[in-house]
Assembly symmetry: C2
Homo-oligomer: 430 residues x 2
């Protein structure tokens, strides 16, 4: 058997402790599969004393994660600290510079600095792998980079944030409004005390930027992602979605258009008949459309210590066996810096919900606003009748350009009989 | 750029032609990803003249596939002839003996001779890869072997035959009976003129035997698979399944029990709430349950020239890059020859459909037969009343051992008031 792979782990939070646990619990299996032992030889964490449920007696401790990253007795550094800059970035850059392989679960770091770090890793001839950064235990990056590598990817989309999916699922199943469902998610530990990173779509956008780079061979472009969250999704919208045959999901979607790379994260109405509509609760799923393979969907747990550890250790196995290859499918130097396809040019169908005064002529005014911007209505629902009072009116459009849709919404919102800003949700007929 | 990978293709049926088409159409992409061109330099097929929609002008032709397999000007042989023995086996064994890498889509060959061929390949230091043999375009073998390699797999199951899934989906959606749905599948090209290989479960069993070997590090054991098909599934059963909250799917399932390796292919009732229940038509799906990752599902097209070519070329890319590793996750010499867990020891829930004479005392007799074998009933439905005539009675059981269930069915079938052999479908509460 070959000599052990010496692993240093920077950061012993839940994922760090889970990774150590996996490496210890499945040590025999891993050694058989790698042809060599995978050994944790050093760790860095702020608090040494804390009980993490794993045996770290024989392991060297570093208070300074950056020093750990440069340690000569280590083959690979696992960065599980988090954050796009600061110490996490320093550990990763330092380890690469010191000629060590790096595995990280840090989506923010890769979304912001992935291209530069991949270039540095390639220049030093070391691996930079981050399967755990996207969709937790789902091996989507390996699938894109290797399993589906024969294909031109035509589109990729997915449910990339378990917190949002849990909230939207709870809203649908219980009829609750957003605020209540969020509160429940927080009580269950599925949402943070400050949930904005998840519910405003930033976390999903980090993951989408990484996915798009791997799928399309583009330089990672987080700034180019159009990001919206789910705060504006109301129980009323969830109801109307069901009535129209849709479910509401926060999706990240990316594809190449004639204008460049389109990357967007926002709430979507998806047909109930499409597989991703049935991915509920904290589960994540990613759909890849390839020119030969057609549609492939991967579903699984997108977060949690154990699924994330599964992905981290899969990367370590690839390094142990020596079967790692380019970080982003092609060499980092060959990544294309594509322009970001502007959202104003996006073409799609739309759901609009208006709150209007129930009186004659309102629908005619709304229809005229749409007509004036060449937006073609597909269907319209006005539920109930309360003459003189506020009622919701819902409509869906045929495919139209986003810029025209926005102009039409601005016209609608200027109408006297329209009482609140119109709510818009994009319809994705996947 | 490194020298080209020289590829020989044995068999130019739809998958062979699709593979050549992919290699030509996406040549630039593949070269960028592999760091070297992937070139088809030789082919073997019986009929040279036939138009296959691909350019084979510059390629050397062999009438004898076995000679192609030994050709010194070739790095890798792709076997797309099919069949567990005969020429396909000869080509693969010959290519390995001649020191060439082998890629094959031949599930029957691997199900019957996988362990021996993998040993031969390892002894010669060449790759033997067969991603396309299981579930077409879905990269499930790479996922098991690499993406989820940090896990002990606790169970694996899936929809492995698109023909059966198409038929069962059509039965549910249209209310048709099996024979009519099969006829439609044949007209659409989803079923062969002689469909027995698919509808009797043999094709799914080949795939399951391969999956189980990769998932559990067991020697491939096709003979150990318990195989049933879907001929006995009636429109009535499909209806009752819906009423009970289930859908009927032909699944292949494998897990380790205290008795050994359990491998079974048969029609199952699966709860409508489980993701695999929503995989319809010709799509395949595989669920892997791992000790750290939890439940992962992969869904996609399980057959067809283009998805299969996607899998074949993914294997070729792995060979071109040099990132292939053990055929079955661990070295072939380390595969364990586990005993086959006997079906009589299987523990699960069951659905029974009886055709009985509608008269007092029938249900009491049936209940007594179950009680006498310690089988505990969960629910019972008798729909409609037609005194003195034949009516269906349906019941489901709590978990019980298969041997006891079979004894109880034998008792039931001996009752005077039971008019036809009882139909049994296993319930999988996934």
């Amino acid at each position: 058997m070959k000599p052990p792979l010496r692993i240093a782990i920077a950061g012993l939070g839940t994922v760090g402790a889970g990774t150590v646990k996996l490496l210890q619990q499945n040590a025999e299996l891993l050694a058989a599969r790698a042809g060599r032992p995978l050994l944790v030889t050093a760790v860095a964490a702020r608090h040494r004393g804390r009980d993490r449920g794993v045996d770290l007696e024989a392991v060297r401790w570093f208070a300074d994660a950056a020093a750990l990253g440069r340690d000569p007795e280590v083959d690979v550094v696992v960065e599980l600290i988090g954050g796009s800059d600061g110490i996490a970035r320093e550990v990763v850059a330092g380890a690469i510079a010191a000629g060590k392989h790096v595995v990280t679960a840090n989506k923010a770091l890769i979304a912001h600095h992935g291209t530069a770090l991949a270039r540095a890793a390639e220049a030093r001839g070391v691996a930079l792998l981050f399967e755990a950064a996207v969709a937790g235990g789902i091996p989507i990056l390996k699938t894109l980079r290797e399993g589906l590598a024969a294909n031109n990817v035509t589109r990729i989309y997915g449910i990339l944030n378990g917190t949002c999916n849990y909230i939207l699922t709870a809203m649908r199943e219980t009829g609750r409004d957003f605020v209540e469902a969020l509160k429940e998610a927080q009580e269950l530990g599925y949402a943070e005390a400050d949930p904005s990173f998840d519910i405003d779509g930033v976390d999903a956008a980090h993951k989408l930027a990484v996915l798009a780079a791997v799928a399309f061979g583009s330089a990672v472009d987080f700034a180019g992602v159009h990001v919206e969250g789910i705060r504006h999704v109301s129980a009323l919208d969830v109801d109307f979605a069901a009535e129209l045959g849709y479910r509401i999901k926060l999706l990240g979607l990316a594809r190449l258009t004639r204008d460049g790379l389109e990357q967007r994260v926002h709430a979507c109405m998806v047909p109930r008949s499409t597989p991703i509509a049935h991915v509920d609760g904290v589960f994540n799923a990613i759909v890849v459309e390839g020119d030969f393979v057609g549609r492939i969907m991967l579903e699984g747990r997108g977060a949690g210590a154990q699924p994330t550890a599964s992905a981290v250790v899969a990367d370590l196995l690839d390094i142990a066996v020596g079967r790692w290859s380019s970080t982003f499918t092609v060499p980092a130097s060959a990544l294309e810096a594509r322009p970001s396809s502007p959202m104003a040019r996006h073409v799609g169908a739309y759901y609009l919900r208006l709150m209007v005064v129930d009186r004659p002529g309102v629908i005619a005014d709304v229809a005229a606003a749409l007509r004036d911007e060449q937006v073609s209505m597909e269907q319209m629902i006005q539920r109930g009748r309360r003459p003189g009072e506020a009622v919701p009116v819902v409509l869906t459009t045929h495919e139209t350009e986003e810029a025209a849709m926005r102009r039409a919404i601005a016209r609608i919102d200027r109408l006297d009989s329209v009482l609140e800003p119109t709510r818009m949700i994009r319809v994705e007929n996947l």
